[in-house]
Symmetry: C2
C-alpha cells in the first residue's frame, strides 16, 4: 500500500490506497462508532435497530455548479449537504440516526476539506447523526449523502395521507432562500449573517417539529422544490386538491419588501426553504399551535386540502388568482 | 409543476419537477415496494427491520472517466454499479435487502437510461435487492449507490478478527479484470463474452459465499483494490501480518499466459476482481472446501495469517520474494 500509481489507469471501480485512506482518517474518521455497532473502516457499517422501530432512509446528491456555486463556502456546504437530508427525515417525523457520505473531489484541498468537515460535523453532532461510512474519490465535486433515521412503529408522516378538509400548515417563513439566490446571482454580496443568506446557505432542518407532529399531522413534506411544487406532490400522492390563501403566506421580510421580484410568486415557486408543509385535522389546531410555541417556531395555517385535484390560490377577498408558478426541472 | 424553467438559476439544492420525476417513473419506479414498508415517492423510504437482525450499510460512488470509461456499455454499468456494492455486503456475510441510487446525468439519453436500468434491475432482482429511493440530477455522470443488507445477530465477517495461524483463502480467480483493462487501454477490442471482459464489466458479487462463511470465516474483505492492498486492510485492522504462497495464487488463465505483463504482479496488485479474501481456522478446511463445492466456486488456500506485521510473499521453494506492488491512490 501507499504511494502514487502513475502506471495504473484511472478507470477501475472502487480502488483506493493511502491518499484516500489518509484523507478519510484525517477529515472524516472520528474513532470508534458511538451510535452504531460498527462504523467507518470495514466493508459495511453495522447497525442493530431497536425492536419495533421503523427505519427511514433518504438520499440526496449535490453537484457543484448545479446545486451550489463552485466557490461556495465549504463550511456552509458541509452543513447544507447534511441539512437537506435531515430535512427529509424531519418531513417523515424520523429521528436522525446515522449517515454515509460519498464525495468526489476535483483535488485534495486541505483547507477546503477542513471547512467542509467542520460544517458537516457541527450539524451532525447537533442532531446526533453519526457518519458511519462512505466513499471518497477523484472527480467533479459531487456530494451524495444517505441518511438513516428511526421512528416508533407506524407514525411516519407520509405524503399520501392528506384528506379533504385538512388544514394546510407551514412552518417558519418562505422565500428567503429564493431572495438570497436572486441577490447573489445579480452580483450583490450578502453578509454571511444576513437572514436570507443563512436560509440559503445554512438551512435549518425542522427535525424537532417533525418529531412533534408524529401524532398530529396526517401528511407532510419538506419544501425543497418550492411551495407549489411540493404541495403538488402531496396532492398527487393523496389524490386531493388544495387551496392556498395568499394573504396568509408567511413571506420572508426581505423578499416581501423587495422591488426587484414578485414576492408572492417567489414565495410560491422559490425553493430551498426546507420548511415543513403539513396537513392536519381541524380539531388539532390548538395542539399544533402549542407545539409551535414550545419550539419557538411560527406555524401558520395557509389553506386547506380539498376534494378533487389541482391547487387554487385565493386572494385576501377569497377570489381565485392565477399565477404562473411552474416547478423547477433539472433536465428542462 | 411541469415545463422547463429557463428563468430559474440552476444553483439550488434538491429542486426537481416533471422531467426528473418522469425520468424516475419511466426508468426506475416499478410500483409499490415489495421488500420494504414504503419505497420510491416519499421524503424517505421506510423499512421495518426484523427483530434480532443487524443491518449492514455500504456506499460506493462511481465517476465517469475515473471508475469506468465514458463510452462504457450502460447495461454493464448498471450491473457493475450495484455489483460492487453487493460485493461489500458479501464481504460482510450480509443478505442483500434494498438500495438507494443517486445519479447525476450529463443529459437525458433515453436509450442509455434503458440500458442502465435493465442492467441494474437484472442484478437487483437476481439478488432480491430492491431500489427504494434516491436522487436524479443533472451533472457529470456519477453514480452513488447505498446498499442495505441484513444479518442474523453478530455473525458479520469483519476485517478486524483475523488471528495468527488462520488460513488465508481466496475465492475464484484473480487478475482477469486487470488483464481486460490492460488489453482495452492498449486498444484491443475484447469480445463482450470474453471471460476477462466479463470480469471487468460484470463482476459477480460472491453473496452466497459470504452468507455461507458466516460461521466459518473469522475475517473477510472483497477484492476491489487488489490482493495486496485489501489484505493490508485486514492486517492493519486485525494487527497481524500475512504470508502468501505465490505458487498457489489462482491466476486467471488469460493473464497467466499474457506476454505483455507480469502475471504475478498483476494478480497481486490488479483490482476489480470482487472475489472474497477470507481468514479461517485450520480446523474448518474441510467445511470450507465443501462450501466451495456446493457453490461450484473454487476456494483456494493461498497463505496464512502470521503474528507481527507486513505481508511476505513466498515462491514455490518457500523463499521470500520482493515485488513492487503498491496500491492504487485516487489522489496520487
Amino acid at each position: 500500500m501507499g504511494g502514487a500509481r502513475s502506471d495504473r489507469p484511472a478507470t477501475s471501480a472502487k480502488r483506493a490506497a493511502i491518499g484516500e485512506f489518509e484523507l478519510i482518517r484525517r477529515f472524516f474518521d472520528r474513532g470508534p462508532a458511538r451510535r452504531v455497532e460498527l462504523g467507518i473502516g470495514d466493508d459495511c457499517a453495522l447497525i442493530a435497530p431497536r425492536a419495533g422501530r421503523t427505519m427511514a432512509v433518504s438520499t440526496d446528491m449535490l453537484v457543484s455548479g448545479r446545486h451550489f456555486l463552485p466557490d461556495a463556502d465549504p463550511r456552509s456546504l458541509g452543513h447544507k449537504a447534511l441539512a437537506v437530508n435531515l430535512s427529509d427525515l424531519a418531513a417523515m417525523g424520523a429521528d436522525p440516526y446515522a449517515f454515509t457520505l460519498a464525495i468526489a473531489l476535483a483535488r485534495v484541498d486541505e483547507r477546503w476539506l477542513e471547512g467542509f468537515a467542520s460544517g458537516l460535523f457541527e450539524i451532525a453532532d447537533r442532531f446526533r447523526c453519526e457518519l458511519i461510512g462512505g466513499d471518497t474519490t477523484a472527480g467533479p465535486l459531487t456530494i451524495s449523502i444517505t441518511v438513516l433515521g428511526d421512528l416508533p412503529g407506524a407514525v411516519a408522516l407520509r405524503r399520501d395521507r392528506a384528506e379533504p378538509g385538512d388544514d394546510l400548515w407551514l412552518s417558519g417563513e418562505i422565500g428567503g432562500a429564493a431572495y438570497a439566490l436572486h441577490r447573489r446571482l445579480a452580483g450583490d454580496a450578502l453578509a454571511p449573517d444576513d437572514p436570507s443568506a443563512l436560509r440559503l446557505d445554512r438551512p435549518e432542518p425542522r427535525v424537532a417539529l417533525g418529531i412533534g407532529l408524529r401524532h398530529l399531522a396526517r401528511a407532510a413534506i419538506d419544501l425543497s422544490d418550492g411551495l407549489i411544487g411540493d404541495l403538488g406532490h402531496i396532492c398527487e400522492r393523496s389524490r386531493v386538491g388544495a387551496r392556498i390563501e395568499l394573504a396568509r403566506l408567511p413571506i420572508a421580510a426581505a423578499l416581501a419588501r423587495s422591488p426587484a421580484v414578485d414576492p408572492v410568486r417567489e414565495a410560491l415557486a422559490g425553493g430551498d426553504d426546507y420548511e415543513l408543509l403539513f396537513c392536519a385535522a381541524a380539531e388539532d389546531r390548538t395542539a399544533i399551535s402549542a407545539l409551535g410555541s414550545s419550539l419557538s417556531l411560527p406555524l401558520t395555517r395557509i389553506g386547506a386540502i380539498v376534494a378533487g385535484q389541482g391547487i387554487v390560490l385565493h386572494d385576501a377577498r377569497g377570489a381565485p388568482v392565477a399565477i404562473d408558478t411552474k416547478g423547477f426541472d433539472h433536465f428542462g
